[in-house]
Subunit: 389 residues, 2 copies
């Protein structure tokens, strides 16, 4: 028989004080999002498989727990990500709400297998989506809001790595590179394999090599990319990126910004400027996001069959609370006073109103100070006053 | 094909402003619990079936979603209730923490089928458990804390209905009523069927009839019960109840208290004073709780086979956020100011610091007031000042 302390791999209990710190951090993050007009929504933990695993959701198929619903006799699934749920709400129940539509969310997601970087199978997500906005101001806003929220809860040393997942495809298409060659090139780029690019890149080899080499601090990288002779559509993407960088700097002048123009891993469904958020010395990403299309997904995903709504240019971000907590420096716990058995109720009311934690003695004890110490209190009530222990 | 707006029965999206109101209410409830020294823990959404569905958990078997975990190759289950998870934490990872141990929690649970009173299949729970405390002060504390928390978030007209689920079994045993007769009597009591009690109650008929008739306001009911000639152990249970009522009155003099001495539905695993919390004119219960044994469950539940810990007298409560929200009167939303395209970042910073919600214009518009109105703002920035719309 299992020992009841044993939990399935990748699942854990949060104990005091971590559970409270996590909850406080989530609400403080959500408060910043709310102040920017991102209104909170709360989708359910489970939905019909057909709405969670289609469109961009197909990418999560192998990560998603599925089960039979005895009520509807259909397959339902536990969400492995919340962004698609928010897009569903925006394009159905809130389809008539004015655009741009700003929505925020916080909740738990479950995954069948954790990743190497994130072995946890239950992850807390906090996010914001800006739906129906194509302007660079929208991209800059979501990045600035994410950075401000993380800064507000006390994450030091933030940096944002920007990328253009559509840049490479646009270039390869403009240069007429046929799809099987494009796939080999894509793989080589994912492995940052300059030699392979030079060898198989064909007429794109020069451009792609220069793009790969340009990765680094935003300003320097932009200057280098803009010096490259790019096909028209690619140049337009770069111009948009440059404008977004300029707008981010206005809101967050001191933010460390880097650009990796050929990165696209994890951004397969993104259609414009995308980003990953890191904190100095913290393993793993604090969050990620970028531009995508809400509603009207490509026909082959099956979504368009039931999506009457127009495709809506959107952007947003998701923060991962486990990584955010790893990046935080925790303050001291509030003072904790032991109230001996029989203390008047009104006394505790006053302490709690002043921000104290009160721990009531439920039975008489000989040594109240010793009992207070045993219960982990910082103070004990003596002669009507809190005495430090 | 399903329309993506369709969710499985009993599951729903919370939209603005409800989702934020729910989150704020949960954190305010948790803050009160925290001030009383109940430290927050956060168990995972899923656990091994064997730890969720044994002991008291067997009662939830048919309400619990179960699935195969491809990692552990064991059955796991989505929690349908959190109390048992807290007891698991208290008797395993926190087995060495000083007693009494005060723990609090907030989270979502999933149920295969909703009940008639609560058709929702995803329910938010907020709760507190006081583990390792047998004194009546413990029972009184958890009831007083639950009532103070609900009052603090603005629930009017609270009442607490107390019951003694062990009273009837103790009486029947003392009077030597054999078990099959006891079952028929239990059923008659559950249906408040006085005629049947008189008919099948045998030597217990008189006592049980009087107990059933005594249900009502606490003081009157206590007086009536104490006038009945009860077997010794039953009389002791009643004396404990009387003491708990006295202690509750000290903390909450104005609380409406009722007693139903023969009620036991939903309290099958409770071992002492239990309670249900209602609010005037609100359908369904806001919460319930009572005394139980954490750890060392009866051998036949299979728990004791792997539970080395001593049985620990405990009490606690669970609040249901959906019912709590139905009982609340919502305040006004914070003011929302539209900041036209190009407004300096610093202007928004100031507004948000003053508690405003700022909605940024992402593109130039001809009529900023009209745009502000379209976006649901209460104010628009004009000449550097917020102008009401």
């Amino acid at each position: 028989m299992l020992h009841p302390a044993l939990l399935p791999h990748g699942l854990r209990d949060l104990l005091p004080p971590d559970a409270q710190i996590e909850a406080d951090t989530v609400e403080r993050l959500m408060a910043i999002l709310g102040h920017y007009g991102y209104d909170r929504v709360k989708p359910p933990l489970v939905e019909f498989e057909s709405s969670l695993l289609e469109g961009p959701g197909v990418a999560m198929t192998h990560e998603t727990f599925r089960l039979m619903d005895p009520i509807s006799h259909r397959m339902i699934a536990v969400r492995a990500d919340m962004t698609l749920q928010i897009a569903r709400i925006a394009t159905t129940r809130l389809v008539k709400a004015p655009r741009p539509l700003r929505l925020s969310y916080a909740g738990q997601v479950l995954r069948v297998r954790g990743s190497q970087l994130r072995p946890e199978r239950q992850v807390g997500q906090v996010g914001a989506e800006l739906i129906g906005a194509a302007a660079p101001e929208a991209d800059a806003e979501v990045i600035a809001v994410a950075v401000e929220a993380l800064t507000a809860v006390g994450v030091p040393g933030l940096s944002v790595d920007l990328t253009l997942p559509v840049l490479v495809p646009v270039i390869l298409e403009a240069l007429g590179v046929e799809s099987r060659a494009a796939e080999r090139i894509r793989a080589a780029l994912d492995h940052k394999d300059a030699a392979a690019i030079a060898e198989i890149g064909g007429q794109a080899a020069g451009i792609l090599g220069s793009l790969m080499a340009a990765a680094g601090p935003a300003d320097r990288t932009l200057a280098q990319i803009q010096a490259i002779q790019l096909p028209e559509r690619a140049a337009a993407e770069v111009a948009a990126l440059a404008e977004i960088v300029r707008l981010i700097r206005r809101a967050a002048p001191d933010l460390m910004l880097t650009i990796d123009p050929v990165e696209n891993r994890g951004f397969e469904y993104h259609t414009g400027v995308s980003f990953t958020i890191f904190a100095r010395n913290i393993r793993g990403e604090l969050g990620r996001g970028g531009r995508y299309i809400a509603g009207g997904y490509p026909a082959e995903t099956g979504y368009i069959k039931r999506e009457a709504v127009e495709p809506q240019p959107s952007t947003g971000f998701t923060l991962y609370t486990d990584t955010v907590l790893r990046a935080l420096v925790f303050g001291p716990q509030p003072p904790r006073v032991f109230l001996p058995h029989g203390t008047e109720h009104a006394v505790g009311v006053e302490f709690r109103a002043d921000g104290w934690i009160t721990v009531a003695g439920l039975e008489p004890v000989a040594d109240t100070a010793a009992e207070a110490r045993r219960l982990g209190c910082s103070h004990v009530l003596a002669d009507g006053k809190p005495a430090e222990i």
